[in-house]
Symmetry: C2
DNA sequence: ACATCCCCCTGACATTTGTCACACGCAGTC
DNA sequence: GACTGCGTGTGACAAATGTCAGGGGGATGT
């Protein structure tokens, strides 16, 4: 049952899944995409798990996922879809794009990555691009990602930095990581040095900005 | 053309200004509000200063402002509008509502405060409510604001907490504030105690969450 | 006028944190 | 095998940070 794209009397519409926790945006977006003849919004979701369930039920051609959603984030949903519905193309729409997110998204098989500053018209074009099997990444976000480069942090460094993210004292971090306090200090110090930060808290901030957390 | 509300020529449409840095949302929103017969989007803006300029030029009845915008945030724009165009009602739409923001907004004369999780239909109703001179605050956000209460921080405490926000060492903060290092430590310690935080970094995080920064 | 309270500011002291030198295990290379 | 480099883990020491007690000044209530 392969769908040939050239059918009589016009092409079959592209079936789209929309996932975004902000109803206002999701609804408005659905209305705008409905104006395009060749696009059809077949399902909407307000959370990560819901997006997965909707995808299983409606088997869309393209899944448009917000990056920050309750439950599972956009990349996690894309990862799950990659194995469950290999034919479904995925793309991420995000408010503030961090370089690391783009890298994670591409690794998860996402084919489109755009900020919410694009127009609806442009988004429709990108959905078609992605559906055709091509990739599209916002040029500005791509430039940021390239200039930011890869994370220089080792696995433990990143893990401890994450535990330090909420400002907890070393003792608590050490207990949660089952390590000696001195070891924790050493890793955090190393991470701070790699990020040219004055201390671990500044290091957390920088790593967050770069999307390395 | 079906015209329920303006058929008799009685009601003039409500002139609306839309300000949001995410073009996708702004455009989609404009399209949805255009479906309402009694609402007319007369101007759009993508930044705080642009929103002010547009308001001066088009004199809308209601200004719908996003909280986080480049240049000036929504509350700052609302404050400026209060003196420049007293007849223009203002309302804030935000993604993640922090309790403190709501308080600041109400102090600035804002008459509506809603999260982006509402539907477009609901937003249209709220715009009418605000235009009629009434207030509307999302119940959930209101509950959060009440439970969070007022900021217990003094002016200096908040100021130094802000300077400490990027993880700078005490010496640098002291220099920037023209204070003795001991004084800085004392204020930050006091702030941390009031917020039940382990240290100043956790205090910054908590204050940010509550919207007290 | 006086007492009281709160905010602003400071220095001395104890604790926490960051830096350093070093040991172990585990790849890959010669 | 022996060498080398890297990630992991630890404790001792120096520096940064948080805590404490206290002085000065303006506002408020009696």
């Amino acid at each position: 049952m392969t769908d040939d794209r050239s059918a009589t009397g016009g092409e079959r519409p592209v079936r789209v899944l929309l996932a975004d926790d902000e109803h206002l945006i999701r609804g408005a977006l659905a209305a705008l995409l409905a104006l395009e003849d060749d696009l059809l919004v077949v399902a909407e979701a307000a959370s990560g798990p819901e997006a997965l369930a909707m995808a299983r039920a409606h088997r869309p051609d393209v899944a448009v996922l917000d990056l920050q959603m309750p439950g599972k984030d956009g990349v996690a949903v894309a990862t799950a879809l990659r194995t469950e519905l290999p034919d479904c193309r995925t793309m991420i729409v995000t408010g503030h794009g961090r370089p690391g997110h783009l890298k994670r998204a591409l690794a998860a098989g996402v084919r489109g990555f755009v900020p919410k500053t694009v127009s609806a018209q442009r988004l429709a074009e990108i959905i078609r691009t992605v559906h055709a099997g091509n990739r599209y990444v916002d040029p500005e976000l791509a430039a940021d990602a390239i200039s930011a480069g890869d994370s220089p942090l080792t696995a433990r460094e990143a893990e401890l930095l994450e535990l330090a993210a909420d400002g907890a004292p070393i003792a608590e971090i050490a207990e949660r990581a089952a390590l000696a306090p001195g070891t924790v200090r050493n890793y955090l110090s190393s991470a701070a040095a790699k990020l040219s930060a004055e201390n671990r808290h500044a290091a957390v901030r920088i790593a967050r900005e770069r999307g390395w957390l």
